[in-house]
């Protein structure tokens, strides 16, 4: 690399990891209500920063996506991802209760974020945000008519954008037949396909990619999956895809836990979708299924902002899942309290449960989680399992 220091990327990425893990553990421990409370501030400050890149950002590769704060540079559009997830969750919960003017207001602010990213220009990120937004809305129970209208409008906008932006158009042409212009427009895709193809069934082995040696563009970020594919082969790639599906299932299934508040479930779904869809777009670019675009592979690609933003999203997911799992417990506690109040004689509950129930008068997931942890520590598994599904 031309950066002089052979450990340049290592140090930069380590910094990102340390920061990111700090953010992750913080997010895991702070109740989601905190994020919902501060959502407007978070959302609008990210929006402001994204807009700011248009004016004070640094242009790199034809797009101004970075803001430089002294020695570090941040990419605000990365933080649009968690901001949008929280914002949309809040929006979807309130949607049925809102009147038309309020709905419009919410819709416009949400779409403003996507628009700001789009004019950066960062088409791929805009597409990612739109797709996640749409899927969250879909899972959040918005009427199909509205969803289909949005889908149509979005597609029309994307087509218009691609066909009017010159570099998007030429990219699209190169995409349709990359080998015809292997040295010019199709270069990136050709190099990527060569890397993937070189992998074969089993790959060349960890660290043994040849293509990453200055043939592949951005082998450390936008085309890192090509390196992965070359080094680990089809077997490794299929394992990766299976892992993505597993991740999707493990995050998305909590949507069905209807006992939990909707916004929490939607945050879990949105965070999962954000990470999985971003991965899918990255892989699709690498294998030439969609036109080349700069989309890093979350948690794999180099990039501090992306790493911190992704770990923030992951932290939201973990926190949301914890709160979803705590919901039945809370419900049970409520019911137990009601039973106590009506003094109906029933079979006594497990004794360990009483202090938990008594201690939580209102919905307080963080407390519930804390109590649950304490209870688990006290009575090994058995009781917990019984308590989770009270008869």
């Amino acid at each position: 690399m031309a950066y002089g220091n052979p450990l340049y990327f290592v140090f930069r990425q380590l910094l990102g990891i340390v920061l990111g893990l700090g953010v992750f553990f913080f997010t895991c421990r702070v109740p989601l209500s905190f994020w919902f409370r501060w959502s407007p501030l978070f959302f609008f400050s990210v929006l402001a920063l994204v807009v700011a890149t248009r004016f004070i950002g640094i242009e790199l590769n034809g797009a101004s996506r970075w803001l430089y704060l002294g020695p570090i540079s941040i990419q605000p559009s990365e933080f649009a991802k968690p901001a949008l997830v929280i914002h949309t969750a809040l929006l979807l919960e309130r949607w049925p209760k809102l009147d038309l003017s309020n709905r419009l207001l919410w819709a416009v602010t949400t779409l403003a974020m996507i628009g700001a990213v789009l004019v950066q220009p960062n088409l791929s990120m805009a597409v990612l945000l739109s797709v996640v937004l749409w899927l969250m809305a879909f899972l959040g129970g918005l009427p199909l008519s509205l969803l289909l209208t949005g889908l149509g409008a979005g597609t029309a906008l994307a087509v218009y954008k691609i066909s009017t932006t010159t570099y998007q158009l030429s990219r699209f042409e190169a995409f349709s037949d990359p080998f015809a212009q292997a040295q010019t427009g199709g270069y990136q895709l050709v190099q990527s396909l060569l890397a993937v193809g070189s992998g074969g069934w089993w790959g060349t082995g960890f660290g043994l990619s040849q293509q990453k040696a200055n043939f592949l563009p951005y082998p450390y970020s936008d085309f890192i999956f090509a390196v992965f594919a070359e080094e680990f082969g089809l077997i490794g790639c299929l394992a990766f895809l299976c892992f993505l599906l597993l991740f999707l299932w493990s995050g998305l299934r909590f949507v069905l836990q209807l006992s939990a508040p909707k916004r929490v479930r939607i945050v879990a779904a949105g965070a999962t979708l954000m990470m999985v869809i971003q991965s899918a777009i990255h892989i699709a670019v690498v294998v030439g299924a969609i036109p080349p675009t700069g989309m890093p592979l979350p948690l794999v690609s180099y990039g501090g902002s992306g790493l911190v933003a992704t770990l923030l999203t992951a932290g939201l997911l973990v926190r949301a899942v914890r709160e979803v799992c705590a919901a039945p417990l809370l419900e049970a506690a409520e019911r137990f309290k009601k039973q106590q109040e009506t003094k109906e004689q029933q079979a006594p509950m497990a004794p360990v449960y009483a202090p938990v129930a008594g201690a939580i008068p209102v919905y307080s997931p963080s407390r519930a989680i804390r109590e649950r942890r304490r209870a688990r520590r006290k009575t090994q598994g058995e009781l917990i399992r019984r308590n989770r599904k009270p008869s």
Binding site: L135, F138, L139, G141, L193, L194, A195, V196, G197, S198, G199, G200, W201, Q210, Q211, A213, N214, F215, L216, A229, G233, L234, C237, L238, L241, C242, L244, L245, L248, W249, L252, R253, V255, L256, L258, V276, A280, I283, A284, V287, G288, A289
Partner: protein, 641 residues
């Protein structure tokens, strides 16, 4: 009251049921949508997996081939060729970098434009001078380049200014110093390409042994050809190497030791002092005796190392253009000749070994002898009467030799000749060695004339070098050694990392017969045909030879054409040098081995004495006596062989 309560309860129940219904619907919808999203992603991942399968399995061979095509290049060795040195470290061949210089006029033009624009900014120039910016730039570049490249400025201006061409070759051989000068000019649009040039410091004096390389760095003659692979440094010159996208070689994929920079060199057994002496002596001899060509070989009989091998005509391997391809062959190795009388001592040794000839035998030399309707004569034309074996050699009597060798069983004689290695290669590490020609055993046994001619060295052919090899068996007490030039490849620590594989010495004569023959040969130099090689105070064993030249285009011999030679073992009691001088077709009248080759050998021996500081064996006679001796040798009844 009850009714009211009941009503409120009813209302509550209704409300509850509605809520339950709603939540049920909500639950069903969520489940449906969840499943829909799940299926969507299953399809998406399936599609990506299928695309990956297509790329990594179905299209993989094609893609991998394309990838390899851009990642690998066949590369000629970057290593400099191993230098060559003689046994004392005198450099015989070295590698030095040399550059080809190219110019790209288009880039020059761009640079001129950039400079113009910068000057315009600094207000050093005006816009109307734009058209002259490039010509001016070219002119300046040509001004600076011309003295370094040693070409005319005008030519450079037209070359550099021709933007219709993308690349122009300015020069192909620019030395390191000149290249540095060019680089110091910091001109745009120039490109250098490094090659390596082989430089031979000793040039003509050793060119026939060292050889040379062609433009592609492949050895085409001499040691350079024979050891081409070893000198090139690696076995496989055209290796496949991995490169990165910048065209840099990837170290992890490059074979170990590929860029070994250890200062290895190949050491030859050659002694440049003797080689130079031999070279000069041969050149002078050829000139003096008007010979077509000549050669001198000095071999260490103890181990077969070639100390010198000079031949004429010589060529300069630093400037090959002047010579025709014929000169590049080392004829002492590639061409056969009939050795003539120099072969006689070997015959005597074989006879002594067989027991049929004794050192004190006496034979009758009548001057001529007719066998199989062919008459053999002495070179002198007259007979010598009853003479001893020593006298036979001293006077180089053909008839005497025939008579002696007739005592041997012809089959036995043939076997002994074969055991000597006649008709086989000597194994010298020079390219294109010829194997000697020798008759079949059946023919040799059936016709007495065959063994008779072989007795005085005709009808049997070998290369001069092979003859020296046979003689070194006499010199070292009976062992046949393998002549060779390369002795080792040395690393920078002086350790030998390669040694030639030599066949172990094979005994072919008994020690006693070898010694006896050597003593006889001493007499040849002392008082026989070899007097011209005599150096007072030193004991030299020698033998002259004047052979008829075989007609290369058919049977028989060339009329009036001779090859004269002289072979010497020195010092005679324990020889460390076997010296052979051969003169092909000497043009002066009365040319014999004694008159043309022996003086050359003498010159070489004198150089050996002074180089090795060999002390005389006995008292050196006074100079006056020496002159007498030489005079006697010069006219002395025309010593013939």
């Amino acid at each position: 009251m009850t009714q009211l309560r009941t009503n409120r309860e009813r209302a509550n129940e209704f409300q509850l049921r509605r809520l339950e219904k709603m939540s049920l619907r909500h639950s069903r919808q969520t489940k449906q949508r969840y499943s829909f999203v799940g299926v969507l992603f299953l399809l998406l991942m399936g599609y990506l997996g299928w695309t990956l399968f297509q790329l990594q399995v179905l299209k993989a061979p094609d893609l991998r081939a394309r990838a390899l095509q851009q990642q690998t290049k066949r590369v000629r060795s970057y290593l400099p060729r191993l230098p060559l040195a003689d046994r004392k470290g005198v450099a015989l061949a070295n590698d030095e970098p040399i550059y080809a210089l190219y110019a790209h006029p288009y880039i020059l033009q761009k640079e001129a434009e950039i400079q113009f624009r910068q000057n315009l900014k600094k207000k050093k120039t005006t816009l109307d001078q734009q058209s002259s910016a490039f010509p001016n730039y070219v002119k300046r570049a040509a001004e600076e380049l011309a003295p370094i490249l040693k070409t005319s400025q005008k030519k450079l201006v037209t070359q550099l200014g021709d933007t219709s061409k993308t690349t122009i070759s300015l020069t192909r051989d620019l030395g390191q110093g000149e290249m540095e000068q060019v680089e110091a000019l910091k001109l745009a649009g120039l490109e250098k390409e490094m090659r390596r040039r082989r430089v031979y410091p000793t040039g003509e004096e050793s060119a026939n042994l060292v050889g040379f390389i062609d433009y592609n760095g492949v050895g085409q003659s001499g040691i350079e050809q024979f050891y081409n692979r070893a000198l090139a440094g690696i076995d496989d010159k055209n290796r496949k190497l991995y490169f990165n996208g910048f065209g840099q070689i990837l170290a992890s994929q490059t074979p170990e030791n590929y860029f070994q920079t250890d200062d290895r060199n190949m050491v030859l057994s050659l002694d440049m002092r003797l080689q130079r002496a031999a070279h000069l002596a041969v050149q002078q001899g050829v000139q003096e005796y008007k010979a077509k060509r000549g050669a001198a070989i000095i071999l260490d009989p103890r181990n077969g190392e070639i100390l010198a091998l000079a031949s004429s005509p010589a060529f300069d391997n630093n400037a090959l253009g002047k010579y025709g391809p014929k000169v590049f062959k080392n004829w002492t190795v590639t061409e056969l000749y009939e050795p003539g009388s120099t072969f006689k001592p070997l015959n005597i040794a074989m006879g002594l070994d067989s027991g049929r000839i004794r050192a004190n035998d006496v034979v009758y030399d009548g001057g001529s002898l007719t066998l199989s309707r062919r008459t053999i004569r002495n070179a002198s034309g007259h007979g010598n009467g009853a003479i001893s074996v020593t006298e036979v050699l001293k006077r180089s009597s053909n008839i005497g030799m025939v008579r002696l060798m007739q005592k041997l069983d012809r089959g036995d004689y043939y076997d002994r000749l074969r055991a000597l290695g006649i008709g086989r290669k000597s194994g010298i590490d020079l390219p294109g060695e010829a194997a000697g020609i020798f008759k079949s055993k059946g023919q040799f046994v059936r016709y007495p004339i065959e063994s008779a001619t072989t007795a005085f060295g005709q009808g049997v052919s070998m290369t001069p070098l092979q003859l020296v090899r046979f003689h070194s068996a006499l010199a070292n007490g009976g062992y046949l050694v393998q002549p060779h030039l390369a002795t080792k490849i040395m690393n920078s620590q002086g350790e030998a990392i390669w040694n030639p594989e030599l066949t172990p010495p094979k005994r072919i004569f008994s020690e006693k017969s070898a010694r006896t023959v050597r003593q006889m040969m001493v007499q040849i130099v002392e008082s026989g045909t070899g007097k011209a090689a005599k150096i007072p105070g030193y004991e030299i064993a020698g033998k002259t030879g004047t052979a008829q030249k075989v007609n290369p285009n058919g049977r028989g011999y060339l009329q009036g054409k001779k090859i004269t030679s002289f072979i010497a073992h020195f010092p005679a009691d324990k020889p460390r040098y076997v010296v052979l001088v051969v003169m092909d077709e000497p043009g002066v009248p009365g040319a014999f081995g004694s008159t043309t080759a022996a003086p050359v050998v003498r010159k070489i021996l004198e150089e050996i004495i002074s180089a090795d500081r060999i002390l005389p064996k006995g008292p050196i006679p006074l100079p006056g006596r020496l002159e007498d001796d030489n005079k006697e040798a010069a006219k002395g009844g025309a010593p013939r062989d």
